[in-house]
Each structure stands twice: as structure tokens, then as C-alpha cells.
Amino acid sequence: MIVAVFGIFLLTLLVVTAIAIVRSSDLFSAVMLSGIFSLLMAANFFVLDAADVALTEAAVGAGVATVLLLGALALLPTDERQGNRHVGLAALTMAANITVIIYATHDVPPLGDPAAPAQQHVAAWYLAHTPELIDIPNVVTAVLASFRGYDTIGEVFVILIAGIGVLFVLSGGRDQLLPKRPEPTLNTALKHHLIPQVVGRLMIPFIILFGLYTQFHGEYGPGGGFQAGALVAAGLVLYSLIEGEQAALELTPPNLLFGLALGGALLYGAVGVIAMLLGGTFLDYSVLLSDPIAGQHLGIIVIELGVGLSVTGVMLTIYHAFASRVS
């Protein structure tokens, strides 16, 4: 009951925020509202018992996405020339879609129905067998890293291709790929503000520490490679904000970041290939060690590390690709 009431409140705010994002003619406000949208979405996920997803949505949606949107917006005009086109077409499609969805969801099991097919079969099997087959408390991590580890390697490559793509697209019309030496005149925003700088310096180690905790605690609580990667990347973005782009690029050279991204993805792939060489199928961690459960643990730890490295590398590569670009 509490879930339903909380949910309804959060969802209503969510709809209001979404409408405001679309209506706002100032793109900067729209970006801030979309940060709020992500926080609301994350809170809603938490209320719906999806702790891992909530953490990811907060770190990726509210943290990294906002930073990326701002980085891109710095290179774009910030006001939208109002004017809508195809409103008729949009309204027609929307009406059709809403009808279909209402029709479709009228018959689906209501929220929280324990007899729903989605709660049976595969899901029930995961919950019942994770303790004996993989033996880690966080079933989400078990499914993500082992049962559906093939999806997850795909996910790492999605993010890797995004990094490669951003570098490739933004290097168009420029004669260098990775930002080597940003312009000295680049405005370094918070660099000359003492208090944020001191506090930021104080915070960064804790953020990275917390990221590492999330990385290695992912088997026991909400967390894992993606969340950790996004948090560490966010911490290093904060460094770039308070110390300036130049200092950040000196601390983490672009080549290092890109190498981390590639290396993380390869590390994940290597685990799969080693499993193949040891006589299992791709990503079968059970063959890694003589004890299948220990093998699963090892495999999950290593691939989560690969995911974390890759996500950190890609997120920062993308951020710097935007931030070091002078419009």
C-alpha cells in the first residue's frame, strides 16, 4: 500500500517534470529538469525494490548524463526557437499509441501481483538457485554477470562503441583525435573559487573510495562495475571542474583513458576466451577454477573489474571530448 501511494506521488511529479522539459524553451533549464527527472526516476526505482537500478540511474542518469548534456550544451546555443511542426501527426500517433498501451496494459497483472507470469518460471529459478550455483547474495549481480553475462559483454561494447563514436565524430573537421593540449584561454570555471575548490579536493578521494567500495561490494549489496565506473568518472569530472580541464588532462591523459576503455572490454572478453580454452563455453566461469563456485566468484570479480575500468574510461573520454572542445 505504501509502495503504491509513494509510487503515485513520485510518478505524478515525474510526469510534471517531463512536460516541463518538453515545454521549456531554455535548454539549460531543460537539462536541469532532466537531472531532476533522473533523480525522481531513481527514487521511484528504489521504491519499487530495484536498488541496483536506482543506483545506476542516479550515477548514470543524474550524474554522468547531466554532465554530458552540459558539456554538449556549452558548445550549442542555449535557447530554443519555439515552434512545433507535425503537431497533427504527433497527436495522431500519440493517440493511437496510448490506445494500444491502455488496451494492452488493461489485461496485464496489476502492480505487485505475486501470481503474475513474470514472477514465475525463470525469475523464480534465479532466486531459488543463485545461492547454490553462484553463492553470492546479490541475485541481480549474479544474473547480470553470470547467467546473462553475454548480454553484459554486449553492454560493455555498446558503451565502448559510444566512446569510439564520440571521438570519431568529434574529430571530424579537426586534425587531432584526442585532446592533447587545451587552449590556455579556456575558461576554467570554478578554478578561482576557493571554497568549492577546497571542498572539492576534500571530496574527490571519498567519491573515488566510494566508487571502489561499490565496485567490490557489488556481490553483496547494490553496486557493480557500471555504478562504480560512473561514480569514479563523476569524481574525476569534479576534479576537472575545480582544477580546470588542463590539470585533469594531465592527471588522466586521454590516451590512458581510452586505453582503460579498450583494456576493460578486452579483459571481459579475455575471461570468456579463457573459459573457452579451458573447455567450457564462452563466459563459463565454472571452469576457471577446480571448484565451480569459486570459479564463478573469480569470473564475476574479474569481469566486473573489466566493466568498471571500461565505463570509467569511456565516460571520461566522452566528457573530455566535449569539455576540451573550443566552440
Binding site: P196, V199, L202, M203
Partner: protein
């Protein structure tokens, strides 16, 4: 003895949580109703520090194990550091951008008259 401690904890928690909730709420109302930017920052800045302190301390009285206590303390610490910093940075940025903190008689386009 234990029972007394429990009741004290409960009562204290109740007081802390309710007063924290009240502060939070007052902050929300202040942010909405105050007439100009700096007064809004004032309302938000004060309650953003005090509200969480009270609410989180109230929650601390409920926890069962030291690990959770530590996490709550860490949240509290971070919020105490970051809240005022954010408020300062915001006010500073607004000042730098030329928004006048002294309410002038001439109506500025960026300030609405709330009455």
C-alpha cells in the same frame, strides 16, 4: 533499564524526526514564497543544513548495527560539507553574474514581485 533507554530513544527519535520534517517543510515553503533570489537561497541554505541533521540523527537512533550508523554518519558529514558549499557557490555565482542582492525600488526583469 533497557526499557527506559528504548523509550528515551523512541521519544528522542520522534522529536528529532518531526522537527527535522518541520524544518524541511519550512525550507520548501520558503523557497517557494520568498520574494527574491537571495532570500530564497537563505531559506534553502539554512534548512538544507539543519533539516538533514535532525532527520538523519533521528534515523540514527533507530539503527541496529554499527555499519549502518557509520553510513548515516557519512551521509550526514557529506551533507554538512556539501550543502553550505553549494549554497555559497550558488550565491557567489549569482553575485558575480550581477544579480543585485539589495532590493532596489526599480523593478528588475529578473525579479518578480511576490505579494
Amino acid at each position: 533499564m533497557a526499557a527506559v533507554a528504548e523509550i528515551v530513544c523512541w521519544a528522542l527519535g520522534w522529536v528529532l524526526l518531526t522537527s527535522g520534517a518541520a524544518f524541511v517543510l519550512i525550507g520548501g515553503i520558503g523557497v517557494l514564497r520568498m520574494p527574491d533570489l537571495y532570500t530564497r537561497i537563505h531559506a534553502a541554505g539554512l534548512t538544507d543544513s539543519l533539516g538533514p541533521i535532525l532527520v538523519l540523527s533521528g534515523l540514527m537512533l533507530q539503527v541496529g548495527n554499527p555499519q549502518e550508523l557509520f553510513k548515516l554518519a557519512a551521509i550526514l558529514l557529506f551533507m554538512m560539507i556539501t550543502g553550505p558549499t553549494a549554497t555559497y557557490a550558488l550565491a557567489n555565482a549569482a553575485l558575480m553574474a550581477g544579480i543585485d542582492p539589495v532590493p532596489a525600488e526599480s523593478s528588475r526583469p529578473d525579479r518578480e514581485q511576490v505579494r
